[in-house]
């Protein structure tokens, strides 16, 4: 619809002054709404509208005129000359130079600068101050930090009735799992309803154990098979031996028959290095050490009675508390007893009497831990009563080194697998001590209070960094050691063996002396009739000694006189 309104103006009125006048509003066009058009449209409901409450901004673009840029270097050949001097003209430069030289400040300045410079020049000529020293020596990492350990994780016994963690075993490869045996070691004081379960924990998850092992009676010891990481061996409180295969589940794979097992709790179980990987042996306080093959676990393959009189009397046998076996010495093994004696035995002996090779006595109470030094197998560590002792196989009468008597009973100990001179001990007051006898002999290098209750067992991981210790209330704490305690120090290989040898030597000397004294005593006891002779002998001896003494003095005096006379002229 086209609406046109034509404005007309006469030509003669162009440029004429405007005279405005009022007039009424005029209606030019009136277009009424047409409802029929509405049908072409549909009402829109609901309507989506975007609303934004923000500052309204506008965007502008601007373009400046292009500015030309170029990179260039400037070569200053000569510069700084004052304006009146032309650097090219030799005369002017010379004149300028001469003028400067006349300046009195110049002379003083030069003198001073000259002397400083001379000093440095002479220095340079004397030695090369930039010489690199000590290039041949290797960079020795010197860390000032003391050995330290920090707790990484704590694994608590999920049972309500708390039992003590009596044994820990690390998983053979990867060390990501820890098997802990729980039981109550107090004689017949296990509370009613105490569960006999033991657990395998995954280190990543301390909230819940990964696997539960259900033996018929609580386990005192638990060991992973180093050859097959799915198999575990456990020694029970009632004397039976049980083994599990993790793949089969948490129930016992096989159990030894009660009639042929131990009569007392099994305190030590160790896997043997055999081709089949199925042999193990166990020791208990009933005085027997039994060998088993887990394929036929109903009966032990061999039994040794720990009777040191070598008569195989079970009544006089000593109860075994700890067992030791080193795979590098496969025919020998050692047993630590309740009576404080370590018995060293030979497996390959023909008769049972010969099985027991020798004994080492020195502790006042049960020997809770026994371990050979992984680097020097001739020396072994025993932990019992209030001390830890280091023995050498050569000296049988006493230990070569020992710690002082502590305030609390020592419960477990272990060598560090990476550092030959470091071992760890746990005590009844909940402290873990790290001993480094290359560094300090009288005190532990580091003493840590792990928990308030007593610590019962300790196990070091193979790489030497992690230690797990189990306490009386069943909590196992995982600690990590820092470098100093876990890495091999450069000084160790030289100092340690010499230390051991020195101490062994000392003990041998003492032993020899003791033997002599004993012989003398025996001689004296036998020869009581010869007392008079002895006494006259003594007098004669004294007389002879006097004479000799006087002789020596006279000769000495004569010698001195002779010398004096020689010096005079």
């Amino acid at each position: 619809m086209e609406i046109v309104y034509v404005y007309l103006k006469k030509r003669s009125e162009f440029g004429k002054q405007c005279n405005f006048s009022d007039r009424q509003a005029e209606l030019n066009i009136d277009i009424p709404p047409n409802p029929e058009l509405a049908e072409q449209f549909v009402e829109r409901s609901p309507v989506d509208t975007g609303i934004q409450c923000s500052a309204t901004m506008s965007e502008h673009e601007a373009n400046t005129e292009r500015f030309e840029m170029e990179t260039r270097g400037v070569n200053h050949v000569e510069g700084g000359w004052p304006k009146d001097v032309n650097p090219m003209e030799l005369e002017q430069t010379i004149r300028f130079r001469k003028k400067v030289e006349k300046d009195e400040n110049y002379i003083n300045a030069i003198m001073q600068l000259g002397s400083i410079m001379e000093h440095c020049i002479k220095q340079n000529n004397a030695i090369d101050i930039y010489q690199k020293y000590f290039t041949e020596e290797e960079e020795v990492e010197v860390t000032d930090e003391a050995p330290s350990a920090k707790t990484i994780n704590v694994f608590r016994d999920p049972q309500d009735i708390k039992r003590s963690a009596t044994h820990l075993s690390w998983h053979p490869d990867g060390n990501r799992k820890l098997a802990i045996a729980y039981s109550c070691l107090n004689f017949q004081r296990a509370p009613m309803g105490m569960s006999s379960d033991s657990y395998i924990w995954d280190l990543e998850n301390p909230n819940k154990p990964e696997l539960t092992l259900k033996p018929p009676s609580p386990l005192i010891t638990l060991e992973y098979n180093p050859k097959d990481s799915h198999v575990l061996l456990g020694g029970c409180y009632n004397g039976q031996i049980a083994w599990w295969d993790i793949r089969k589940g948490s129930l016992v794979a096989e159990l030894s028959t009660i009639e042929f097992s131990h009569r007392d709790p099994v305190y030590g179980t160790i896997w043997l290095q055999s081709k089949t990987g199925t042999e193990c042996f166990s020791a208990s306080t009933d005085g027997q050490v039994m060998w088993w093959d887990i394929r036929k676990i109903s009966e032990p393959t061999e039994i040794v009675v720990l009777d040191i009189t070598r008569k195989e009397h079970l009544e006089s046998a000593l109860g075994a508390i700890s067992l030791e076996f080193e795979s590098t010495l496969p025919t020998k093994f050692m047993v630590g007893t309740e009576q404080g004696i370590v018995i060293s035995c030979n497996r390959k002996a023909k008769t049972a009497a010969e099985k027991i090779v020798c004994t080492f006595s020195g502790h006042h109470g049960p020997i809770y831990a026994l371990q050979r030094n992984p680097f020097y197998p001739k020396n072994f560590l025993t932990v019992g009563d209030w001390t830890a002792r280091i023995w050498s196989e050569d000296s049988r009468e006493s230990s070569i080194m020992w710690t002082k008597y502590h305030m609390a009973y020592l419960t477990d100990g272990a060598w560090s697998p990476v550092r030959p001179a470091v071992f760890f001990t746990t005590k009844m007051d909940g402290t873990l001590d790290i001993w480094d006898f290359v560094f300090k002999q009288c005190d532990p290098a580091l003493s840590l209070k792990v928990c308030d209750e007593a610590l019962f067992c300790l196990r070091v991981q193979d790489n030497g960094c992690f230690i797990a210790c189990g306490s009386q209330l069943g909590t196992a704490t995982l600690l990590e050691l820092n470098n100093l305690a876990s890495m091999l120090q450069l000084s160790d290989p030289n100092i340690q063996p010499s230390m051991f040898e020195r101490e062994t030597h000392r003990e041998k000397i003492l032993e020899a002396r003791h033997r002599e004294m004993r012989l003398k005593e025996k001689g004296k006891a036998e020869g009581k009739d010869e007392e008079e002779e002895l006494s006259t002998d003594l007098e004669a001896l004294v007389g002879v000694a006097e004479e000799e003494f006087l002789d020596v003095i006279f000769t000495e005096m004569k010698r001195r006189e002779a010398e004096a006379m020689r010096k005079q002229p």
Binding site: G79, W81, P82, I110
Partner: protein
């Protein structure tokens, strides 16, 4: 005058000396024991360097100032003793 000459001669007589250049604060070589092109080159290059070093030092700590500058290179050592108005540049080949 004579003392200046004497000082410089003393320095020159030291072992391993390759050259001595005396420059003023504007970079004009006043005295030199090396030939002209070397002198101008060293004077200009070292002048920039010294001024930069001085300004750096003062920026870090306004109360501090350079007392001596040593540049040890593979072949020789360049030493600069700065003063209020002058710089003494010495090139030495230190005998090891």
């Amino acid at each position: 005058m004579a003392e200046v000459e004497e000082t410089l001669k003393q320095l020159q007589s030291q072992k391993g000396m390759q050259g001595i250049i005396l420059v003023n604060t504007e970079g004009i070589p006043l005295k030199s024991t090396t030939d002209d092109p070397t002198t101008t080159q060293y004077a200009n290059l070292m002048h920039n360097f010294i001024l930069k070093a001085q300004s750096t030092m003062r920026e870090i700590d306004p109360q501090n100032d350079i007392t001596f500058l040593r540049i040890r290179s593979k072949k020789n050592e360049i030493m600069v003793a700065p003063d209020k108005d002058y710089f003494l540049i010495v090139i030495q080949n230190p005998t090891e």
